[in-house]
């Protein structure tokens, strides 16, 4: 038996889904002497589950993509034998580890995967709650607002409103009762940085909220977290209890007059409840339906009181901004977009997961360097940014910098940070249809254009994808898109047509091909495509074996052939062909 070790198992939802609970149980049984702990998510979805072994000298060994078989060897070789299994270690200083880490700068995710999220001591040991203590003891609300304003921090929920300015508005309201709200509704499919942050580093958010409340004069707050995030809610509950026990939340925080009661409100999962006025209605027990602004929440928000609403990522940035100063934060980024932004990299990408990069680097750097490109022989066709409200940025514009205004100028939005990489097997009409299907279902149904207009757009897109499009459809889509944006009360309706508008802007020819030539070049729309095998077929037989309807015939090392009468256009043959011999016709 070698020296006593600490073993931390990734126990975020993503790690657990990858099988980390079983690893934890094995470790409990097999290595009873080791200090067994949990950690959050490092954002490396492509390499989970992860386990960190900390030697008594403080040296960390991070194992990735651990499975029960690997764990057996790690236990025998490293935990029991004292020899790390080098081949499975993650090394951020060389190779692909370096590619992943070099351009990242972790502020929001500074503690994620580094601390045990259920133990406040670990957060405190890394300087946690120092920023709160600093503002309570050395500053006043107005000065805090100024600091945050000077840092250039903008709302990370998507709209990018200057956080300090929002706080100043609320502070200016001379009312005895004010609220703070943390928007943890994270509704965009594809974005999961808020969940990960809450699961991995809940105290960073709580500390941010305490500073937010102090700066705006609030003494009560709500964390509106979707009920689909049970682990985040559980960890928040633990964190709140621990912070209250330490006098970091609740009455007379750190011995001052400042008090803050925080509540968790579990949302029922309506996308529109991420919209601040709908979110407040939901907390109040009303149907989550947006209302017109003004009045803005800073004047009349939750229960009619001045309210400051910030997103998880924004709040998690706040302690860093206070701790390191506005200048340190504003030194990062572009002229108008400061600091860092977390992206959820997904789609046709080699290293999917959460990455945090400084504002100002290009989309290409994020996709090709940090994310490692598509991970296949296929080329990037476009990047979908901003979730269902966002848009598709074509490959030709990948040199666009990560900056609120520059991204907006492409027609996409920064949004909450969803970044889906698309390759040439993605049909752009189908992508637009997919996102519109989501938003039209999630419309609260209040505004006419959003309720019926998005449905009509979806019907047109569906018709086009099914091969029944008519030339007038493009004009109908454009007219409706512009008018829906023009006449919707909230962000959902105002942005719902974006996926259609950006694909029409950059990939109009694909729409025209669907409608006029009845062809889907990506091989996605079944009514509009077929597949054939080109003469570079090596006769490897993989396609024939994978074809679900046995439509492919051919002998080993001989050219294969697709029986078009049997083919159901599922595209599996193309996906499995290593030689790019399956072509769309």
């Amino acid at each position: 038996m070698s020296e006593a070790l600490k073993v931390s198992v990734g126990m975020s939802t993503c790690n657990m889904a990858a099988g980390s609970e079983a690893l934890f149980q094995t470790l409990e049984k097999e290595v009873p002497d080791a200090e067994l702990s949990i950690m959050g998510c490092l954002g490396q979805c492509h390499a989970e589950p992860q386990i960190r072994v900390t030697a008594s000298d403080g040296q960390d060994y991070l194992y990735h993509s651990v499975n029960p078989a690997k764990l057996k060897k790690i236990i025998s070789d490293h935990l029991q034998g004292g020899t790390p299994v080098d081949a499975w270690l993650f090394d951020g200083s060389k190779g692909s580890g370096a590619e992943l880490m070099q351009k990242q700068q972790r502020i929001v995710l500074r503690n994620c995967g580094e601390v045990n999220p259920e133990n406040i001591e670990e957060y405190l040991s890394r300087g946690g709650y120092a920023a709160l203590e600093k503002v309570l003891k050395e500053s006043d609300p107005a000065a805090v607002c100024e600091t945050v304003l000077a840092s250039g921090l903008r709302g990370r929920g998507g709209a990018g409103f200057p956080t300090g300015l929002k706080w100043k508005f609320a502070l200016a309201e001379d009312k005895p009762k004010k609220y703070v709200v943390c928007n943890a509704d994270e509704g965009d499919p594809g974005a999961f940085m808020d969940r990960s942050t809450l699961e991995s580093d809940p105290h960073a958010v709580l500390e941010g909220m305490a500073i937010q409340a102090f700066a705006t004069g609030a003494n009560e707050g709500y964390i509106y977290c979707r009920a689909e995030y049970p682990l985040a809610i559980a960890r928040l509950e633990i964190a709140i209890a621990q912070a209250e026990a330490k006098g970091l939340l609740g009455k007379n925080i750190l011995g001052t007059d400042f008090c803050l009661d925080l509540h968790i409100k579990a949302g029922a999962g309506a996308f529109v409840c991420g919209e601040e006025t709908a979110l407040m209605a939901s907390i109040e027990g009303e149907r989550g339906m947006p209302r017109l602004r003004p009045p803005f929440p800073a004047q009349s928000g939750l229960f009619g009181k001045p309210t400051t609403i910030n997103n998880v990522e924004t709040l998690a940035s706040v302690p860093w901004v206070i701790g390191n100063g506005a200048e340190a934060y504003s030194a990062i980024g572009t002229e108008k977009s400061k600091g860092t932004k977390v992206f959820a990299l997904a789609g046709k990408i080699k290293r999917g997961g959460l990455v945090e990069v400084p504002m100002g680097i290009t989309l290409r750097e994020v996709v090709e360097e940090v994310g490692g490109g598509t991970g296949s022989h296929r080329k990037v066709k476009a990047v979908q940014m901003g979730g269902p409200s966002g848009g598709c940025i074509p490959e030709s514009l990948l040199d666009t910098r990560i900056d609120y205004d520059e991204v907006s100028s492409t027609g996409a939005i920064m949004g909450s940070g969803g970044m889906i990489v698309l390759d040439d097997t993605t049909c752009m009409v189908d992508v637009a249809r997919y996102f519109l299907d989501f938003t039209q279902k999630e419309s609260c149904g209040k505004c006419t254009f959003c309720r019926i207009g998005t449905r009509r757009m979806l019907e047109v897109l569906t018709r086009i994808c099914e091969g029944n499009g008519v030339p007038e459809d493009i004009q109908t889509l454009e007219e409706l898109a512009v008018q829906i944006k023009d006449t919707s009360l909230c962000g959902l309706g105002q942005t719902a047509p974006n996926p259609v508008l950006t694909t029409l802007r950059y990939f109009r020819e694909e729409y025209e091909e669907h409608i006029n030539d009845k062809k889907c070049r990506a091989g996605k729309c079944k009514a509009l495509c077929g597949f054939e095998i080109a003469d570079n077929c090596t006769g490897c037989t993989v396609c024939a074996r994978k074809c679900p309807v046995d439509a492919i015939t051919g002998v080993v090392k001989g050219m294969h052939l697709i029986d078009q009468d049997k083919c159901i256009q599922c595209g599996v043959c193309r996906d499995v062909c290593k030689f790019d011999a399956v072509k769309v016709i």
Binding site: L292, S443, G445, C447, T448, R455, T476, Q483, T487, L489
Partner: protein
């Protein structure tokens, strides 16, 4: 209170602090539509039909809940705003299921308030019923006998079993007035000091004269014949339409002030130029009286004549002699009329020769049945080839036909079968092939390529601005009710022309429909129990075939009430107060701009006083807010998301369970017909009917 100054549609305007754009624009005389905004409710901003442009704002803003700010530049009428408004309405209509007016009413060319008059009959209010009919149809007794009933084809009752006998009920209303000695006295507006010449005393001319007189315009009616009625007198036999019915209804028009000049032929006794000089305007209802030829050798032989000539002659003298053996060529109503008339004249054997099959005969099925019952023989799939004199008789050679591919009219084209000729020897041959327009008596007017008068469909105005026209001379031979409708529209247009107004005819407001019979939700007919149509009493075939006595004897009171009670009362209780219909008319919105899914039909009449028709709801949320803010009772709320979002009683219960005495006010707040009072009648007569507007 301090005043704010701002720019409204390019002009300086004022508003009080806190005043919304909607209110300020309204005060300045601009119309902005809204569904969701109510003065006594908090602003909601859901419908977005009130959206306006504020310069400097990226999106349009809801004017109902945006306050005017100092220096604001607002546009409420530009193309962007109007385009969005129209799209908003197009979208709402695309998801609206219901009828404004019943399909019978909208399919009636004359626009008769059918559910209205039928309902009066059901209640025993026969005089009111007739008054309602005459508002649109001065020839109720005539058309009540001869109309081809497009209304009954559209009648929803046939989804239960059979359509309502609308036409025969109309006749009943007219007959009751005669039986009870009541006189129809249409209201008449004060004279405007203008006079119009109406040429033709047929259905279109009579209708034009009737409505012109009601507008206070003097009329002189000229007709080449010796009596009024045109085609309904000279083309329809008296056993279908007794002459005293025509005379009685013409007498009403005469009593209104029309001067009739018979035996006066245009182009012979008077000219169009003369009339234009002497009168302020002219209406031409010349009909289509020129018979089409058979284009068969021998058709000029004595004993061969056209159906229209034959019926005209008989109508003057029912005792004319006729041979024993008669052939009638043709398959339309005139052919049937000629055949049945020939029987009544004393012919022993009458044979109808038609080149297609019975199913393709354009004549009314009931009339064909009646003819066969009376003994008329049918020789289908045969066409005349030549006619030759055979002693005293005529020998007609026919060829057998077979049906080929469908032609332009969709009917299968008849093709001759080679070598299948056969001959028939008869005394008389009547060719009822069709009629043409002869407009040579009215020179100077532009004609269509068919030779009919080219007139505007909505107004009847011809290429000469003070000459209007309608009926068969414009459309070619057509049904009588279309002629009456054309005469009525022209009267509206002539009145507008003489008053110096825009000549638009009688434009109809937007009408929403659940669609064709096969598009009607199954729940609609399912709410009615089967109860078959009351058959029209008639003389027995044997009894009637030799006399000109009216075949159909008319409903008794008991039968008429029972038949009228079958009416489903299609149409919306709110049609005349409905904001959606009003705005759709104003902005020319259409339900078919966007196809796609629409909401399901869900009618809840479980409540004591309210009916909730979810399929008509436009989700403006007004009722929900009335419940929350005014009634302080959360009885209605939003449920579901996206396109499936609905307003429902709390916890999705039935309306009956939310009962509250204040709830009736919900019906007043609902801007459409989704929430209505059971006591309100289904909307029928247009309140904007011309006399009402004129009296204002």
């Amino acid at each position: 209170m301090s005043k704010l100054t701002f720019t409204l549609n390019g002009k300086p305007a004022e508003a009080s602090a806190g005043e919304t754009i909607l209110d300020a624009a309204k005060a300045a005389g601009f119309f902005i539509p809204t569904f969701c905004h109510r003065e006594d409710l908090k602003p909601f901003a859901s419908c977005f039909v009130c959206a306006v442009e504020v310069e400097g704002r990226r999106s349009l803003v809801p004017s109902c809940s945006t306050e005017v700010a100092e220096g604001m530049v607002v546009n409420t009428e530009n193309e962007r705003v109007k385009g969005a408004r129209k799209t908003c309405l197009d979208l709402l209509l695309s998801d609206h299921v219901g009828d404004c007016l019943g399909p019978c009413m909208t399919s009636c060319p004359a626009g008769i308030d059918i559910p209205g008059f039928v309902s009066h009959i059901a209640k025993g209010e026969d005089q009111e019923s007739l008054k309602l009919i005459v508002d649109n149809m001065p020839l109720a007794g005539c058309l009540g006998r001869v109309c081809t009933r497009p209304c009954e084809e559209a009648c929803r009752r046939q989804l239960v079993e059979e359509p309502i006998a609308i036409c025969q009920l109309k006749r009943f209303a007219a007959d009751q007035a005669i039986a009870n000695g009541e006189e129809v006295e249409p209201a008449k507006l004060p004279g405007i000091g203008k006079k119009v010449a109406v040429v033709g005393a047929g259905p279109s001319g009579l209708a034009a004269a009737h409505f012109l007189l009601m507008f206070g315009i003097d009329c002189t009616v000229f007709d080449a014949h010796e009596a009024p009625g045109g085609m309904i007198r000279y083309g329809i036999p008296s056993y279908r339409l007794p002459r005293d019915i025509i005379d009685g209804e013409v007498a009403v028009i005469e009593k209104l002030g029309a001067e009739f000049k018979y035996n006066t032929r245009l182009g012979q006794d008077i000219t169009l130029e003369q009339l234009r000089e002497e009168y302020d305007a002219v209406f031409l209802g010349l009909g289509a009286q020129k018979a089409s030829g058979m284009r068969t050798p021998g058709e000029d032989l004595p004993g061969v004549e056209s159906g229209i000539e034959f019926l005209g002659k008989v109508s003057r003298d029912e005792t004319l002699p006729i041979g024993n053996n008669v052939i009638v060529v043709g398959g339309g109503n005139t052919a049937i009329d000629a055949a049945r008339t020939a029987l009544r004249m004393g012919a022993d054997e009458v044979t109808l020769v038609y080149r297609r099959a019975r199913e393709q005969m354009p004549a009314w099925a009931e009339e064909i049945d009646a003819a066969l019952d009376e003994g008329v023989k049918l020789q289908t799939l045969a066409a005349p080839v030549k006619i030759e004199q055979a002693g005293d008789q005529l020998e007609m050679t026919c060829i057998r036909m077979e049906l080929g591919e469908p032609d332009a009219s969709g009917r299968r084209r008849p093709m001759p079968v080679e070598g299948s000729e056969f001959t028939m020897t008869v005394d008389n041959i009547i060719a009822a092939i069709g009629q043409n327009v002869d407009a040579t008596m009215a020179p100077g007017l532009e004609l269509t390529s068919w030779g009919s008068i080219d007139a505007n469909e909505q107004t009847g105005q011809t290429s000469v601005e003070d000459v209007f026209s309608g009926g068969d001379c414009v459309t070619g031979a057509d049904i009588a009710v279309n002629a009456v409708a054309a005469g009525r529209r022209a009267a509206f247009a002539i009145n507008q022309f003489l008053q110096g107004e825009a000549v638009v005819g009688d434009p109809k407001g937007y009408n929403h429909s659940m669609g064709a019979l096969d598009e009607v939700p199954a729940d609609v007919p399912a709410a009615f129990e089967k109860n078959n149509r009351v058959p029209m009493p008639h003389l027995d075939a044997g009894q009637r075939a030799k006399t000109f006595e009216e075949v159909e004897t008319g409903f008794t009171e008991e039968l008429a009430r029972a038949e009228a009670a079958r009416c489903m009362e299609c149409g919306c209780r709110d049609a005349h107060e409905c904001s959606l219909r009003d705005f759709a008319t104003r902005y020319d919105a259409r339900a078919d701009r966007f196809g796609g899914d629409r909401r399901e039909y869900r009618r809840d009449d479980s409540h004591a006083v309210l009916v909730y028709e979810e399929h008509k709801c436009i989700q403006c949320g007004t009722c929900v807010r009335v419940c929350d803010e005014l009634l302080k009772s959360p009885c209605l709320g939003f449920a579901g998301r996206g396109f499936e979002a609905r307003i429902k009683p709390a916890l999705d219960r039935a309306m009956v369970l939310i009962g509250d005495e204040d709830l009736p006010s919900l019906a007043e707040y609902c801007p459409v017909g989704a929430l209505t009072l059971k006591t309100d009648p289904v909307a029928t007569l247009e309140p904007e009917a011309f006399l009402n507007t004129k009296e204002d």
